[in-house]
Assembly symmetry: D2
Homo-oligomer: 452 residues x 4
């Protein structure tokens, strides 16, 4: 194990803990990570990174599930009040809250990319005494927003990694890219960064999640089996009328929504692999004696492959539209999230294993885990693999106080140092990967040219 | 009571009984009354009536629920074999099985119209010994066709009326029109005769039904409250696939039909009056392990007014189409029947009562009954009333062996003489009605011109 | 027209206006009319009425749609802060907010009853300048509660009537009962007062509503055609699971609710009269990627008769339970409101007309109006009629700024004086009604004994 | 290749062809294979087999989808008329149409089992000239029954195998059991033979299907991935009423069926493997204007494992019952078929391959195929494997004139000799399998004791 890194980590750990708790306290949900992103950008700049931020790394048309302009403006104001770095806010204004830090060694070598996500969830954090953040004064001060999935730690891991790599710059070759992504919850943000070309020059790519059922001291080198998914918001507009006096004047949006929900769940299984459909939320109507004039549904489709997800999505949209036609109401369908199905590159697994096994804090290393759900880092893995690169999504174990997305979710903060070191070792030893005959763009030399 | 009529009726009754039993034995369903209509036309001609038949009195485009050409041809052949009057068949070929008999006295006076219907039902008649037609050898010889509603008697009543009126021609004024309608079951035939202009010159119009819950010896002068109705046949064509092997290839017509049925029944009530919807039949799919590729529904809507029926129909069609769109199947909708809402003219009631009370066989006369269902004579009533005429739909009581549409339905045949005499008296005394200031077209003289 | 009354009304009108605006400002929704009811009780007591309040006039088990204990307690505290008459609060504590004022003349004569209602709606009142209550400083200070149906005026009319009758006590005979009912909205309160026996000794009964589409200066003597109705809150409890990872573990409450909604709307029409069903609100699920573990529906049934409503209700309950069984979820059904179908007594109409025509402010008097919806005063009319008494529900016209239940609803306050005088005249002349041979209990003398 | 066998096959082939065409002509559907089974039993007896037949090998209570007693009796009569072996009919009477032939060599060695099925499908065979059986005079004479899946050849293969093995008896050791199963279509018959203990002493078991997409000259040694399945017939009994006159009196079985169908298809996917649901047939209602009083559904569930099928089945039954409760109709559910999920034993594959490769007529041998559907031989494979034996389900290729279950289905009859030889070689070389340490019961010697 690298002695220099060990000392660095020891000295920086208190700072990392402080940052994570600060991000936790000022939890910001997807596309309004104004304060978080500004802190990230300012630090990267300070440490000597080339920083790209905002529209340069987040393609406008590819963003999904962006809140209303009014909410964005209000949240930006809130971020200012909570100490955002104001010189960076113009980049993020309007919800372009992505940041990329680049370290170019000037030496030949591959481009190694890392990705962390920054957004909180729409959950009201517990204020009970047995919840550590509440007891220790860093419970979220933003109502209805909470880091209940660990992205506060992810952001900190990205920053810690940036510090360590800059400190050990002389031992690196090629280029390092650290991607700070907004709006992972609801799988809304990755696509916009991929479409902005952020991943196009990356030869070896690493992302990951802490926890996810893996305890502290264990690492999984690669996840596979992520389901492709699409998230839809559906609104039906009908016409309200008095249910006693003039029921025939109504156009019943509730019945349209009920029919759509039932029929979407009845979409046929697919013989070529797993599929899923869920109408997770249905809200319709205003009063008991009023024919319901409006309805709203939150829907998601999934598939073992993008083709199967596409099949589910196409059928769902047919049903949503047919149900509207049935009840003579107007539908509007908004795609508010998307992710690919994607597997980690098997060629990377032994390499990651060999790095992870160098850490004294890690007692068990697993090759693979089969993912249950969806994750939009898959867009990034896919883009890297499509360009001939290798990519993997790790799970870095940490023991949890309560499950992900629970109002008492909490982590063992020691996971951050483990993750930072694992990633840093991957970067420092990336040269070994070139033997795999992959990562061609990187081998084209020190010009670091972007292939797109 | 008219003595001449009494003697006539007495002498003709055995013949009427024989005719009714003959029609009963050779029961013919809607639009294939080839044998029945040919017998009617031949007799009317023989007795001196001006006879109009076929397309002249049945407008092609207004016919509904006409069977396939193959079935029509096969049935025409069957009629020949069963002794149809062959010189009349060319008129009826292709399903134009309507007949009108006209008696013009040459004297000034109103045009008085009567209508009877001739079709049987798609029911297999009972052959059990306790069923009189079976015991006495006039059970239907046509499989799946049975006079289970009494139209065999109606046809006979029309013929008997024609005989009596011709015999008493010198006591009549104006003109007499006796309309023999096909395809009343499923309310398919009346509209085509109305659209052919058959009712356009009628000043006073009488139609009616025997039985209907009224016992022998009682007469109801006028029915009201018939619901407007539309009958639809709906077919969904999807795509079959193996339910185990490739369910995703299927386009599920059964689920489209199920959704349509549920949602049609959920069409909102109408605040302005009664409405009805019924999916009476749903047949879908071919095998247990096959995604159903086809479905068929028999649907009807009703309304207290034509507007309400229109509202129900429009909503039903939206739902049928929306359900098809939902499940990506093709729908086809055929209107196979229609009837108006319509009330008997109240001005006619005292007149009819006074005629009916002349009969010794009638001990009770009711003014009105509220109809539960639908009947397409309403199109004829409506047309007469729209032209300033008066019209009524009577019920002539007869005690039944079993309910209408039952496989053991049977009547007390004495009802025929009662009906014939009631109608004949209405014709003989129609002059009294002119005092009501109605029936203007008739008063235009003996030219008998058709107003359309 | 009575001169004394005219002067009284003139002098009292400013006070009435002030009261109405005070009630408007401190709008209180159903079962939490703590402040309003305490003001009413205190004034009646002050004026010499025998006052009955709380559980004595509101039967606990017959109350419907009562809020949670916590909400009741919080609202009682709120009422104290807003100046409720504290000596009366113990009567109302826990939501027994009914009051009855009795004036016994000691002279023989009928018992004449009046009923007004006191509750506000769950609506946020408009604060825009063109809304008079906002402009003039008596907009509701209670968030989400607003007198948008005119019950503030109804309460004031009850009080004004009490003042006038007490002042003219010497011209009265028999007994006067003025009933101040809570929770009319959602038809929740009348039944509890009827079941407490409040109406059992009333011979002639008058209630009514201001506005309802009738302009100022017009009066309708009797409403009929109120639909019987039942209001249900339905909750489904299923089991949530991750829609991607373990969908089969879920018990889907949303699909149960959707099936229930669709199938309830498909309950068959009734041939004996109007029926209605409405699922006005459906709320289900918590997150897009979670199998929905809970759902909530607001349902109402209606019928032209109580039998038809009963039929609708029974079918709705079967469907609610069957849908729960289908999806293996637990249902709970709460009846939160009920009203009878009931007609005003036609014998009362000429009497009311003759009183109303005495008022100079009234230029038009209608006999009847057909009600579109439901109203729980029908329980009271029914009880009085069942006991051999006569009862009517009037409409006292007033020109509205916006429709009932709208956030800018406002009345022409002059209606209050018109209503008070109409009611007072009915009380003063009730003796004339005894000629109708009704109101027997009242004629039994001054003991005021309750007949039940 | 065994010379004796080759000559045997050559000489017997014309006989086999004749038998297959005879079975084809007298096609008999499931549980009424009276003629076929009697021919099989008579021949086996004649050749010296120990024959077990009827209830001894078909357990009554485990039979599924048995036709009505009337139909069974009528078909038995039909079989007599078509030349059934009358001495065997008493065994089969009532639908116990299974036969087992046993050949005990008296020498130590394993018990080797084979299974063929005998039933035809409910399909009307094509009589067109391009359909060989029609052209050559052996088209099915039984209306609506046709060997459209090749079980006529299967039966012949079982008989041919019996002939060959008896002829080569001296080269065999241990025991041979040839099972002739009724009612495979609809997966109704295997369970009853397994429950009768027929498979309990079998060490090595072979069954298979001809065709299935594999052309003549190819053999697949083992099929896997059969889905467990359950077949349900569902009947709803409601109450019919006139849809215009008294709709409220009806209990709508069609709406119950429609709700059940929609909701069954909406049963959640299972995360542990494939699942299927199909409502293949829905028939409801009698007439357009009648509230439908009855409905019938053919349903099937499937699962990659028996647990998943169980989950699907349990949910389906809940929904069927809940839908009945919703619409106040009576449901009845009959299980009319069942099959396991089951894989062929991989240890058998190289053995089968080595036998198949001996045949000159076979040019290609595949190890495995993944089955799309379901097959009830899986019950037999399972029972053998549970007892420590080995079992495989083969596919013996034959080129088809039209797909399975098509009215023009026809085979290349040369497949029969290939199948017979493959099976015979498996029997002759079964001793080699004992090296696998399986088939212990067989090694216990010549007592042929049943191990269970």
């Amino acid at each position: 194990m690298n002695q220099q890194m060990k000392q660095l980590v020891e000295s920086l750990t208190p700072e990392w803990t402080a940052w994570r708790r600060d991000f936790h306290k000022y939890a910001e949900s997807g596309w309004v990570e104004f304060r978080t992103a500004s802190k990230v950008a300012a630090k990267l700049k300070e440490w000597g990174y080339e920083v790209r931020a905002g529209k340069e790394v987040v393609r406008d048309e590819a963003r999904m599930g962006v809140p209303s302009a009014a909410f964005l403006a209000q949240q930006e104001k809130r971020a200012v009040e909570q100490g955002a770095e104001q010189e960076w806010l113009p980049y993020f204004s309007g919800g372009f809250t992505g940041v990329v830090g680049i370290l170019d060694t000037g030496r030949p070598g591959p481009t190694v990319g890392f990705r962390v996500d920054m957004d909180a969830l729409d959950i009201q954090e517990s204020e009970e005494a047995d919840h550590l953040p509440a007891a220790n004064g860093y419970v979220s001060v933003n109502p209805g927003m909470m880091h209940a999935c660990g992205h506060d730690a992810h952001t900190t891991i990205g920053l810690g990694l940036a510090q360590v790599l800059m400190a050990m710059k002389e031992e690196l070759n090629g280029r390092i890219k650290i991607v700070f992504q907004p709006a992972e919850e609801g799988v809304r943000g990755a696509k916009a960064m991929v479409e902005a070309g952020v991943l196009d020059d990356v030869d070896f790519f690493f992302s990951g999640h802490i926890g996810s059922g893996v305890p502290l001291g264990e690492i999984v080198c690669g996840a596979r089996g992520y389901l492709a998914t699409t998230k839809l918001d559906v609104t039906y507009k009908g016409y309200s009328s008095h249910a006693g006096g003039h029921p025939e004047d109504g156009k019943n949006a509730l019945l349209a929504a009920a029919s759509a929900a039932l029929n979407m769940h009845s979409i046929s299984r697919h013989s070529q692999g797993s599929s899923r459909i869920n109408v997770g939320v249905l809200q319709a109507g205003s009063g008991r004696n009023v024919v319901p004039g409006s309805a709203f549904l939150k829907v998601e489709t999934r598939g073992a492959t993008s083709e199967i997800n596409e099949y589910m999505l196409e059928r769902a949209v047919q049903i949503i539209r047919g149900a509207a036609a049935m009840h003579d109401v107007q539908e509007s369908i908004e795609v508010v999230g998307m992710a690919n199905s994607c597997d980690s590159s098997s060629e990377l697994i032994p390499f990651i294993r060999s790095q992870a096994e160098k850490l004294a804090e890690v007692h068990t290393v697993h090759d693979f885990v089969v993912a249950g759900g969806s994750e939009d880092a898959t867009y990034m893995l896919q883009r890297v693999q499509d360009n001939g690169g290798l990519a993997s999504y790790l799970v870095i174990g940490t023991t949890l106080a309560a499950g992900h997305h629970n109002e008492k979710f909490d982590i063992d903060e020691r996971v951050m140092a483990i993750a930072i070191q694992t990633y840093a070792l991957c970067a420092l030893h990336a040269g070994e990967l070139e033997a795999l005959g992959r990562g061609k763009s990187g081998s084209q030399g020190q010009d670091g040219k972007i292939t797109e």
